[in-house]
Every structure is written in C-alpha cells, then in structure tokens.
Symmetry: D3
C-alpha cells in the first residue's frame, strides 16, 4: 500500500455536517496528499435550510441548488471531491440504487478511514441513519459475492471515525481521538464562509475547535490550539503502543 | 523527547499478571529500545500460590521468595526491570510510603505509556485496586506542589492501557487496541516457563494470543498471528487519523 | 405563550398504554386546562385483545370496534381527545401518510410535552417503534422545508417523556421525574374500569402508582400517595435549579 | 408439559453461525431428546463464501447449493432439522412471507429456548437484523389475533439465548451462562469438518470452546473442558436459586 | 456434595434488609432444608431507626437492643441463623477483625449462593459498602495462603445474587432471576410483623412481591403469585439451557 | 418552607472548581435571595497551583494563603459564604472530624440543592472523592440516630446536581439541566478575574458557557446566551410536567 495514494471517505447526511464536524480532518489529510471524497446524501433542503425558506417564493429546486453550490464551494476549499445522492432529507429516502452506488464507492476509493455521524443522535433522525448506511455499505463491500468479478476484490474494510455531534453527551459520544487541526484551521474557517446563512455556527464551532484543542493538549502534554474530536468503532491493530 | 530513551511502566498486583497479560508488550517495547519497568505490588503469596500451599511445611517467607524468583526470571526474559513493594495480597495493604515511592517512579521513569489492570474485576479485589492506585499515582505525579524542587517537574501524565483480564466481558473490558506481538511470541512463551506451577495457563494464554491475533487481522485486513488486547482510558491526541 | 392554552401530546401504540402508563398525567394536565391529545396508532386488535379472541366467532372488525369504544370512553374520562390511525398492531404497519398526519398534529397541537413509550422494550416490538415514530415526527415538524407556507412555522420541538413500561428495568427505563397524580387518582382508576377485560392489570397498576408515590415522597421529603414515573430524553433549559 | 418432547429453536443469518456458535448446544439438547430445529435465513452466499468466489466460473446458484449441502450435513451431524428461507444475505432481504412462516414455526415448535445472534454486531449487519427478526416473530406468535383459530394458541414465548459473536466485547456481549458441551465436543468438531473452506476457524472455535470451558470451571468450581457462552435477554422465573 | 446439607449465606448492612428484600428466598431455602445463615453488620441503630429516636430518652444501647430483638425474631420465623457484627451504621465501621470473621464464615458455611445488596445505591452508603465487603470476603476465602492449614480449604466461591434495592432503577438494578416465593409468602409476611415500626413498608413490599410475581409469570408463561427479584454477578455454568 | 430563606450548598475539592463550573448557579441563586454556602475541602495547594510553585522560595503556607485569598474574593463576588476544611489535596485527606462538620452543615443549611463534582473523573482523583463525600454526608445527615436531640431533625436530603467536569464525555457526564446564567454572566466573569494565574481558563470557560447557552436554546426553543450544564442524580418529584 506504501506506493499508492492513500484516501479517506466522508459520509454525511447534509452539507453542513462535513464542514462543521470534519472539515479539519478533510483539509489536513488532503494537504498530506490523501484523496478525500465526500458523499453527501441530501442537500439538507427541508430540514437544514431555515434561512432559505424565509425567502419569499423559495422552491425546493432553488433551495437544493443553493445548498449544492455552497457545499461544492466548501468541499473545494477543503480539497475534497464531493458526490451528492439527492436522497432527500427529514427523512433520508435512501434507495437500493444509492446503496449500490455507495458500495461501489467504498471499493473504488478503498479508504484508510471513514468519517461519518455518531450512531445515536436524538435530535436528528438523518444522522444515525446515515451512520448506519455508511456502516452497512462498508460491510457489504467486503462480500466476495457482491458483484463478483475476474479481478477479485482488494478492498479492506476501514476503521470508522464518528465525528462530533452538535450536543455530544446527548448522543453518547465519547471521543477517543483528538486530531490536531491547527495547521489547517484557516482552511476550515474559510470553508465556514461558504455557509453564510449559518453565521452563528461559525463562532460555535470555532469555540468547539479551541476547546477540543485545549483538551488535546491536556491529554498529551503537548500544546494544541485547534482540535477535532472523533470516536472509533473498531479496535486498531497496532505495532507499538505509544 | 526524540533523543531520549523512551520508556514504559507496568503496574500489577501480582507476578503472573505482567506475564500473561502484558508480556508481549513488555518484550516488544524492550526490543525496540524502550526502558521497561515493572512495579509489582505483591508476590501473590496468599491468593495466587495455590500450588505452593499444597507443599507441606510451606511458610509465608518461603512462598514469597519462590514467587519473587519466578517473577524476576520472567522479567529478565522479557527485558524489563522489576521492583516489588511487598504490599501483601488478598487484599493489597498499600501504604502511604508505597504511594510516595510509586509517584517517584512515575516522575523518574516518565513513561510514554502505563500498562495496568482493568478498572473493574468482580473476580479479584486486588486488580481494580491496583489499577486505581496506578491512576492516582499517575495524577499526583503531575502536582507541582508534590515535592517541589529547584529543577521543576518535567513529567507528563501518560496514556493508560488496561490489559486483558481473565474473563474480559465480566470486567466490562472492551479492547480498542490489538498489539501485534508475533515477533516476540517466543519470548513471551519462554517467560511462561518460569511459572511452572501454572502450566495450565500457558495453553490458555497461548489460545488468547492466537485468537486476539486473528481478531487483529480481521480489524486491519493484515494478518496477525499473536496479539494482546488493550483498552485505553484517555483520548489520544493525534496528527493523522489512519 | 402565556395567554395561549397549553397542550400535551400522547403517542401510543395500543389503547391500554395511555391508560395504565400515562392516565394520571393526562387527567392532571387536562384538569389544569391543558388541551390533551392522544394519538393511538392501533386498536391493539391482534396482540392485546386476548380476551376478545376467546369469544367464539370474533372477527377483526368486531375486535377493533370493541377496543375503540373502550379507548374512547377512557380518553373521555381522562379529559383528552383521541385520534386513531388504524395502523394495525404486532407489528405496526405505519405508512407515509400516517407519518404525514402525525407531523401535522405536532404542528397543530404545538405541545409543551410529548408522552410516549420507552425507546427499548424487548417484550413488545410495537412500543419502541411507536417511540421512534413519535420522535421522528417531532423532529420533521421542525423542518422549514416540510410543507413550507406563507405564515411560517411556529412549532417548537417539545421535551419527550417516556412513560413506564411493564417491566421497567428490562427496558433500561430509569425514571428522572415522578409526577404526583394523587389528586386525579380517582379519575385514572375510573378510566381503568373501561378496560374490563384486563381486570388483573387494574390492581397491578394501582400497586405501581402507590409504590411510585412512596418513591416520589422519598425523593422529595414531601409525602406523595400516587405517582407516575417518567424519563426525559433531552436536557431541560431552566431558570432556577430547585 | 412433562410428557411432551421438549424442543429448541435456532435462528441464524448464515450457515456457519449455528455450527461455530451454537453447535454444542444443538448437539447436547438433541442428545437429551429435544427436537432441535434450525432456521437459517440465507446460505451466506454473498458475504460468507469467500472461498467459493475464488473458483473460476462460480455462479450464485452453485454457491448457494454448495453452502446448503454443507449446512445440511452439519445439521444432520448435530442432530437437528434445518429449514432455509433463501432470504439472500449482505443484506438479508426478509419478506413478510418469511416472517409469517417464522411465526408459524414458533407456534409449531413451541420451543423451550431460542438461540440467536447478539443484538449488536458492528462487523455484520445481518446478525443483529436476524436477532431482531427472531425476537419479533417470538412476540407476534403470542398475539391471539394473529391467525386466530378454533383450538386457540398454546404457545409460550421462550427465553432467548444470544450466542457468542466473533468479537464478543465489540458486540457488548456479556455471557451469563456457560454451557458445558464437553460430552458433545466430538460431535461439534465433526460438524466443523463439513465446512472445509473455513479450516482456519476450526481451530479458532476450538480455542474459544476450551477457554470458555476453563472460565466455566472457574465460575462453578467444577472442571469443564469445553464450553459455549450465552447471554439471556429475559429474567428467568425460578423455583430455587442454586 | 450431594449428601451434604446445602447452605445459603445472606450478608446485609441493616436488619430490615434481609426481611424486605430476601425474606422469601431465606424462608424458601430453609424449608427445602438448606442451612441459611444471615450476617447482619449493624443494627441500623443510627440510620434506620427513625421511630425509636422519636421516643424520649432513647439511648444507643436501647435502640440497638430493640433492633436486635426484632431481627432475631424475624430470622427465627424465616428459619435462619443470624450473627451480628455490631459494626455501626451510617456509615459502617467495618474492621479487619470483622473481615477476618466474615471470611471464616464463608469457609465454614461454604454456601451454594450468597445474597447481598446491589453494588450501587445512591440513597444509602452502607448498602454498596456491604455488597463490596461481601464480595471481598468471598474472594479472600479462596486464597490458599489465608490461614493455610493441614486439611486444606474445600471452599468454592459461590454465585452472588444481588437482592432488590428500594428504588431499583436508580441503583442500576436489572433482575435476571425472579424467584417464586408464593409458598412461603405467609412466612415472609409474618416476619414483617416483627418490624412494627415500619408498618408502611409491609404494604410496600407486599406490592413489590405481587408485581414481581406477575412479572415472573409473564416471563415464564406459568402463573406466579409472589416473587422476589435478583440479579447475579457471575455467569452460571450449566448442563442444560431450559 | 415558603417563608423561610431558601439555600444552596456547594461542595468542591479545590477553589477553582466552584468558580469555573458553578459560578453562574451560585451568583444566580444568591441574586434570587438564596443563602449560598460553599464548602471547599482544600486550597488546591499541591495539585492546582502550578503557577505558584514556579515562584522561587514558595512555601506551602504561602501557597495556601494565596489560594485562600483568591477563593474568598471570588466567593464574595458571587455572593456566597465559603468555609475551608484545609484537607490537603492530591489526594484529599478527609478526616472523621471533617465529615462530622460537613454533616452539621447539611443540617444547618438544609439546602434545596447541592452542587458538587461528577461521580467519575479519570483525570482527577480528588473530584470523585469529593463527590462521594458530599453524598455520604447528605445521607448521614438524615440519620435520626446521628446526634439525636430534643428538637428532632428537620433536614430533608436535597437533589444533587453534578456540575460540568473539564472533559465531560470522559467523565460520563450527560447533562439533563442547562441553567440560564445570562443575567449573572458579568458576575461570573468578574469572579474569574480573581484567579489571574489561570488566565487561559477564563476564555475556555467563557466558550463553555456560550456553547452550553446555545444548546440550552436549542433544547427549549428560547434563546439563551450563557448556560451552565448540570446532571442530577435523583428523580425529581413534580406537580406538572412542562
């Protein structure tokens, strides 16, 4: 694997999710040369576009187009590809065809890690569902009998990192990794600016990053200015402890 | 820190614990050049010497001497220093003086990681107590007002890895690291042979190592023959995800 | 909000549920002037009508009509409106149309609180499903893009109170509110009498109410004769602690 | 019930599951005269037939036929009936008709116990789904209004025993029963031999059985050579404690 | 073991505990011929004698004597021996000598089961402490090096059954056994009458017994009038599942 | 109770704790007329005075005096009484005499609520110990036989609110109350300024307050600027749900 480009996959329900919760990891790994791919199921058009719907005459297509443009701009800033499934939101209407496509993406990208939602979130039905879908596709991509072919499948199921939900304790989120995103903070902040309708969240997530950074420093004894918190699902196989 | 020798600290209640549960990690890091230091509170003389007490005329001093000799031989094979506190077992009678010494050891060794018992174990009162002591000393060693001196304290509190208890699920043990100990398995097995009275456990823990190895391979997609399972207590501050 | 009538919404899978588990809360808030509305998904016709099915010649329609009559009578005694979805039971066959209607109800009633089943119940598949549906509708009702209209949406997602399942510990139910229902106990008991086929449960739930009452008194230091236990899902935003 | 033949039901997603995880319980109770019936939802044709798909020209039908033959041979050795639902795997495509059949089987077999998958398994989406289906059918079989008939229903919902998943701690599996399978170990081992493509798992599960056996002995003070671990879902009603 | 009298040990902090929470199990096993021994650490003289302290001129010795007399009478009715440690209560002041005596009792009684408090109880500091002591003594009694003697130790550590706390959910109590105490209910009720100062608890615990009985019946499909709920700590090694 | 002054009790291990974690609640209830009393076990002289120990020639007495002065000034700003136990820190050396005094304080203050540390904190041994002590004293204060007197005891054990630890998820802290402290934020911020050595924490805890405030607003639908998070231990007995 050493001479291949490494990659990471991000699976989210709505556009804002990958910016607020995983923008640092995306920018950081992109900067390190990873291929970063975001799969964004919906445009957040019904449930996460309160601003848009206050505009007179707004239509669903306009709303979706607006959110898509923002998300594409943010992904570009972070250095990632983005693919939309247009699944609808609140709730996600995830079809068999979308699952089939997502499995193909897992095999094609063959990521070193997946970033997705926490498995529980009582505030948002789309988040745990997207997390479950990300995990199901990750598993089915391993099945030798799924689209068996002459070349065989070289895919390996990667570690899953749950990113931080809005109210972490209520989602039983208990981070076991704090990623140092200091060197890409400016990029993450720049990506925020593509989401002008959620201006109040810019500051909220800057505070989250600063406080996670201070926690990261407390856990390691080495200062960290900005951090992002993650929780893995599987044990890591390691060659050294620390 | 890069030009300093790295080190690891192992804190156990009884001699067998560091052999069965952490022998691979000790041997592996010793081989990598880490200074490995074991603090063993008791000789397991009351609660873990069933064989000895079947011998007619056995005394407490004889029993302790025998267990000490075994443990020293096993530690030597694994490549570690060992220090006994002679705290007694079943239960541990841990004094303030022992705590003071343990704190000094933390500061002196300044380890990159600590290995100790799981925080719960309904089968053994000494194990969770030893774990709690290891954690208390780790914390107090940070206190600037504990033995303040001219040079200041450069100690940083390390990550704590709980090693695998005998019946892991009953201890709420959920491993999040599987360490590949394949290259030091022979050393671990050789250390087993210093504990002849527990011959039946040699095979038990070989099976544990083989099964943890297979699990390690399943989690990473890369074969692992022998493994040791660990569970961390704190988040890791990291610079890359995977 | 002060000059508007307050309201509460109850979402249950079967008719008996709102009587045994939430009858006190319904009667109490109705008495205080709240508009209380019950949405009852099924008539419990398949899974909770053992008595009916012992009668020779019983048909599904007869069974449903009987359970509906009982439930309407009980709701009337408690002072609540009731709406049936006729979803079927064991399992619930909940359609998109029903979800749409439930979301409308949330917006129309705009309740201060929702009462529904616990999120887990290994004895009954309909209960956790009804709870999940109640929560999904509560969330989607917030979505500005769901049926956007000229007047905007004034709905606020309310706190969710899980009511007590039949075997609470097995459902991981851990109450954090005990509601004093002493002053409406007679009304709750009267509602029991509309469910003559479950005579044995009258006494069971009287004992539950008496024991929860004694627990309520122990927790507050103020005597409580009859109580109902609830567990909230979300934090409460408060202006004073106690 | 004393003069009736007792019975047990096993509900699994794939063929290997009942061999590795429950083969001892099946053989033991069969030997004691219980009617043992296995319901196997799929042939594991997509997700658990890596070996088959390495053979050139393999087709889905061939793969299924091969896995069926193996499973039938293994079931015969264990002394059990087996019924396949051909639901597909990765994921299970479980239809209403299959649920109807499974409910009938519960009523017909009227088992003293059910063996099925753990309720959680992050490695395999089919396992928790099969467990949930087994539990739903167990519950609906109690419903008097489900296929009501002249003779009434005499079925009683049995205890559910979750069998051991591949990586038990990751599935939150905490065994509370260790079944002594020593006297049928040879039979279980013989059944393994019907699964030649998974030769490496023979040894893995022999190690599991030996280690569970030693744990069983530690918990009871009575030696046990081979054991199988189970976790119940419901309390047991008992006439004596121990 | 078949020709030896079986025995059970009950370890409680205060006198009322064994009556309300375990009186049925004590009476039932005594009736079956088990030697039943109760160790009661304190007389509940400070924390559970509110009635006594309302009497003018009450002294500690009077209070203790009164509680002792009640407890001895209740134990006699239940068919059990009772031994008091006079440890004090609120909090227990448990000495090394008491621990030594308790370990001797474990070895002498060699019980098939131990009944004690739940491991957590936020309402009462003595209960979890008594539970922890009961478990520590149970473990140390296994240590070959504790009072080693010519005859060796034949003691086997028994299963621990936690009995039901006053507010079970708040103590994370999740019963996995419901013992049918119907045939000794009259005896348990008669024992209640030796505790006249707690008249209000007679009815409370009668309701608990009736409701646990109904739950027992629901879990087994076999009617149970009065039940007592227990939660085990260790897995059971078994020869048959159900 | 209506014509009596209400009161609240705060029990902390070190001086900073009541400022960062509970300063808003203290100031708010003081402003509402509650008597607010802080019991601060230590001066944080060993473990939480890193700044002081960097000063040449610092002595323990100087350090304690400095921290006492800061804490008294902060308490005065918040509107609270403060009493120090001088128990030492890292670890707390809590004597029987201190427990006796704390029980007296519970009876004398008879608080409506207690604020103290979370029951778990792997970063700090003093915090969970202080929490356990606060709970033990709260319980013993109820014991009629503890210092029985002519007038009887009118004390009622209050609800316990755990305040927010530094790394909440690692302490299994799951808030169920968010207190609106907006109107006293200025006071809390002013109290911060009495702790100049921890300047970096001022901003950290301002960010915590702003983010908890936003979460409070999300949970209630009513804007909240600054919040403090709490988790209760006991159920609340209530007369209305919402």
């Amino acid at each position: 694997m050493s001479d291949k480009q490494k990659s990471g996959l991000v699976v989210t329900a709505h556009p804002g999710d990958f910016v607020w919760r995983a923008g640092g990891a995306i920018a950081l790994h992109a900067k390190m040369g990873y291929r970063m791919k975001i799969v964004c199921f919906s445009f957040g058009e019904r449930g996460e576009s309160q601003g848009a719907w206050k505009q007179p005459g707004m239509t669903m297509e306009q709303c979706k187009a607006g959110r898509r443009a923002e998300a594409e701009a943010a992904a570009a800033i972070l250095g990632a590809e983005i693919e939309f499934f247009d699944s609808g939101d609140y709730p996600l209407n995830f079809t068999d065809g979308m699952m089939d496509r997502l499995i193909d993406i897992y095999r094609e990208v063959n990521p070193s890690f997946v970033l997705t939602h926490a498995v529980r979130d009582p505030y948002n039905v789309d988040h745990p569902k997207a997390s479950a879908i990300a995990q199901e596709a990750r598993i089915v991509a391993q099945a030798a009998g799924h689209k068996p072919g002459p070349s065989g499948v070289t895919y390996t199921a990667p570690q899953v990192f749950q990113f931080e939900p809005h109210q972490p304790e209520q989602c039983d989120f208990k981070p076991n990794r704090i990623l140092n995103i200091t060197e890409v903070w400016d990029t993450k902040w720049k990506a925020f600016q593509e989401l002008p309708a959620q201006r109040h969240l810019w500051d909220y997530y800057e505070r989250v990053a600063l406080n996670r950074g201070m926690q990261g420093g407390r856990n390691s004894g080495k200062a960290m200015k900005y951090g992002e918190a993650y929780q893995t699902i599987f044990p890591d196989a390691v060659e050294v402890l620390a």
